[in-house]
C-alpha cells in the first residue's frame, strides 16, 4: 500500500438492541482524497460517523483514524480532526466569535491549536466561511445557512488533517453550496483529507474522487466515483409532437418506451444510441426541443449495483 489511509475500518458493526445499524463495514479513505460516503437517510451513515469520532462505541470491528486506533487514540488523533456531525450546535446566547473561541479552548490543543494564535485562528475560520462581518452577532440571530457556515468554521479551526463532514451543505442556498464545494476543493488541494457523508449523489459526484455507498448499514460499493456512476440509459425528449414521437420511437429497435412524464417522451435505450434516436425522430418530422440523458439518481445506482452483482462488495 503506497498511500497511507486516513480512515480505515474493518468489520465495523453496531447494534442497538436488536436493530443492526451498521454491519461489517470495511472502509478505506486514503490520505489527501475527497471521499464521499453515500447512502439514503437511515442507512447508518451518521452512526458510522459517530463511531469514527468515538461518540458511539462499536459492537465489533476496528477503526483507525490517521493511523491511530479509535476510540483508544482519541486524545492523540481528534485534535487533528475537524467535524460536522448532524448539523452545527452552538450556545445561542453567545456570539459566533465567542462560540468559536470557547470551542477552540476546549480539549487538548494539538499541533494546530496554540493559545497565542487563537484570536487569529478564529478570525481566519470566520473569514473562510464568509462570516467575518457577522461574527460578533449572537448565534440566536443567525439563519440556518449562517449556522451551517459557523459549524464549518468550527470544523476548520485548527487546520485539521482530516475533515469528517456529515451533510455539510444542509440548509445552504445554491450559492452557499457552491462556496462550500470550492472551499473543500481548496482544502483538499492543500493536503487535507475530506470524508463527506451525504445523501445527495450530485454533491458527491461533483467534488469527490472516490465514494462508498451504504444501504441498510451495509457497504454496497466502494470505488472511484466514475466507476460507480453507471449511466441509466434513460433519455427524455421534450417535443410539441409527443404523439408522433411516441409512435416513431415505439417502432425503433433497441428501445423500451416508458410512461411520458410532464409532457416528455421517456425511453430506456437498450442498444440504440441517443443520437440514433434523435436522428430517427427528426427524420420522421418530430420537432425535438430538447433531448436529455437522465443522470443516475442514488436509487438508480443502488439498483444498478445490486442487480449487476456488485453487491458482492458488501460481503
Amino acid at each position: 500500500m503506497s498511500v497511507a489511509a486516513a480512515i480505515r475500518t474493518e468489520g465495523l458493526t453496531k447494534r442497538f438492541g436488536q436493530v443492526v445499524a451498521v454491519e461489517g463495514l470495511d472502509l478505506e479513505v486514503r490520505e489527501g482524497e475527497l471521499f464521499g460516503f453515500l447512502g439514503p437517510n437511515g442507512s447508518g451513515k451518521t452512526t458510522t460517523v459517530r463511531m469514527l469520532l468515538g461518540l458511539v462505541f462499536a459492537t465489533s470491528g476496528r477503526i483507525e483514524l490517521l493511523g491511530q486506533p479509535m476510540p483508544a487514540g482519541a486524545r492523540a488523533v481528534l485534535p487533528e480532526v475537524g467535524s460536522l456531525i448532524e448539523g452545527p450546535a452552538f450556545y445561542p446566547h453567545l456570539s459566533g466569535r465567542a462560540n468559536l473561541t470557547l470551542f477552540d479552548e476546549a480539549g487538548p490543543p494539538g499541533p494546530g491549536g496554540g493559545r497565542t494564535t487563537r484570536r487569529r485562528r478564529v478570525s481566519d475560520a470566520l473569514e473562510q466561511v464568509g462570516l467575518a462581518t457577522v461574527g460578533r452577532r449572537q448565534v440566536r440571530a443567525y439563519s440556518t445557512g449562517m449556522r451551517q457556515r459557523l459549524g464549518l468554521a468550527a470544523a476548520l479551526l485548527r487546520a485539521p488533517r482530516l475533515l469528517v463532514l456529515d451533510e455539510p451543505t444542509n440548509g445552504l442556498d445554491p450559492q452557499g453550496m457552491r462556496e462550500v464545494r470550492d472551499l473543500l476543493a481548496k482544502l483538499v488541494a492543500g493536503g487535507t483529507t475530506v470524508f463527506l457523508s451525504s445523501h445527495l449523489l450530485a454533491e458527491v459526484e461533483l467534488i469527490c474522487t472516490r465514494a462508498a455507498i451504504v444501504h441498510q448499514g451495509r457497504l454496497v460499493a466502494q470505488d472511484r466515483v466514475e466507476a460507480l456512476l453507471v449511466p441509466t440509459g434513460r433519455v427524455e425528449v421534450a417535443t410539441p409532437d409527443l404523439d408522433r414521437a411516441t409512435e416513431l420511437a415505439a417502432r425503433l429497435p433497441g428501445i423500451d418506451l416508458g410512461e411520458p412524464r410532464a409532457g416528455r417522451l421517456v425511453v430506456q435505450l437498450d442498444g440504440t444510441s441517443p443520437e440514433a434516436l434523435n436522428q430517427h425522430l427528426v427524420e420522421g418530422g418530430v420537432r425535438v426541443r430538447e433531448l436529455v440523458m437522465v443522470r443516475p439518481s442514488l436509487e438508480d445506482v443502488f439498483l444498478a449495483l445490486t442487480r449487476g452483482g456488485a453487491s458482492d462488495a458488501a460481503g
Binding site: 469520532l53 468515538g54 461518540l55 481528534l78 448532524e86 448539523g87 480539549g107
Partner: protein, 267 residues
C-alpha cells in the same frame, strides 16, 4: 477546560437570575419582619427567625434555613441537571467530546462548576442576609439556641461550618441531578427526577410509618446545622449528616461516571 466551563457559567444569565432570586427571598422576609415587627414566636416558624428581630447577626443562618428546604435544592437541581443534558439537548455535547474533551474529565469539570455555583449561591445568600440583617436589625453577639452568648470569632467559625455543611448537603443533591443528567438528553427531565427524589425523601421523612428508613434519607439531616448554634455544639446529627451525604455523593457520582463513560452519544 475548567476555565472554559466557568466562563460559560458566569456568562449565563440564568446563573445570576437564580442567585438573585435565592437572595431575594430572605430579603423579602426581612422587610416583612422589619415593617411589621411581628416575628414567629420563639420555638415556632423557621429556625432562628424569632431571634432575628433582636439580633441581625443571626440572619444569615436564618436565611439559609429559609432557602434550604425548597429554594436552594431547586436551583441546584436545575443547575446540575443541566450540566450534561443541557449540552446534549443543544447538540454541543458531541462537539465537546470530539474536541476531544475526555468524558471523565468533562464530568469532573461539570461537577466542579456545579460546586462553584453552589458555594457562590450559598455565600451570596449568606452575605446578602448579613448585610440585610445588620442594617435592619443591628448586630449583637450571637445568643446560642441554648441561651448563652457566642462570641465573635466563635460565631464566624460556626457560620463557616454552617456554610460548608449546607454546601455539602447541596452537593448531595447535585450528585443525584448529575447522575440524572447523564441518563437523559432533556435538562428539564434531569432536574425533575432529582427534585422528585428529594420530594419523596421529604415526604417519607414526615411519615411515622417510614421511621426505619428516615436516618438514611438524603434530606433527613439537612437542617441539623442548627445544632451548630447550641452550646455545647451537638455534633451527633451534624456528623451523621456529613456521612450520609458523603455516601449519596459517592454512589451517585460513581453511577454518573459509569453511565456516561460507556454511553453512546446520539444527541
Amino acid at each position: 477546560m475548567l476555565l472554559v466551563e466557568l466562563r460559560k457559567l458566569v456568562r449565563r444569565p440564568r446563573t445570576w437570575v437564580s442567585i438573585a432570586l435565592l437572595a431575594g427571598l430572605p430579603t423579602l422576609v426581612a422587610v416583612f419582619l422589619k415593617v411589621t415587627g411581628i416575628g414567629p414566636r420563639p420555638g415556632e416558624g423557621p429556625a432562628f427567625l424569632a431571634e432575628v428581630l433582636n439580633n441581625g447577626a443571626l440572619f444569615p443562618a436564618a436565611a439559609l434555613a429559609l432557602v434550604l428546604p425548597l429554594f436552594l435544592p431547586v436551583a441546584v437541581s436545575v443547575s446540575a441537571g443541566d450540566t450534561v443534558a443541557g449540552e446534549a439537548s443543544m447538540g454541543t455535547l458531541r462537539y465537546l467530546l470530539t474536541r476531544p474533551v475526555g468524558r471523565t474529565r468533562l464530568l469532573v469539570v461539570k461537577l466542579l462548576v456545579t460546586i462553584v455555583f453552589v458555594f457562590l449561591a450559598v455565600l451570596i445568600v449568606a452575605a446578602v442576609a448579613f448585610v440585610v440583617g445588620a442594617t435592619m436589625f443591628g448586630v449583637k453577639p450571637l445568643p446560642s439556641v441554648s441561651g448563652q452568648t457566642i462570641a465573635g470569632p466563635e460565631a464566624s467559625w460556626r457560620t463557616t461550618v454552617t456554610v460548608l455543611y449546607v454546601a455539602w448537603s447541596m452537593l448531595g443533591v447535585a450528585s443525584i441531578a448529575l447522575f440524572a443528567s447523564t441518563l437523559t438528553d432533556s435538562p428539564l427531565a434531569a432536574a425533575l427526577s432529582a427534585l422528585a427524589a428529594l420530594v419523596t425523601s421529604q415526604v417519607l421523612d414526615l411519615l411515622d410509618a417510614a421511621a426505619a428508613v428516615k436516618p438514611y434519607l438524603p434530606t433527613h439531616y439537612w437542617l441539623s446545622f442548627i445544632d451548630l448554634f447550641r452550646t455545647p455544639i451537638l455534633w451527633h446529627n451534624v456528623s451523621r449528616g456529613f456521612a450520609i451525604q458523603g455516601v449519596y455523593i459517592v454512589v451517585f457520582l460513581g453511577a454518573a461516571w459509569a453511565n456516561f463513560a460507556t454511553k453512546d452519544i446520539k444527541s
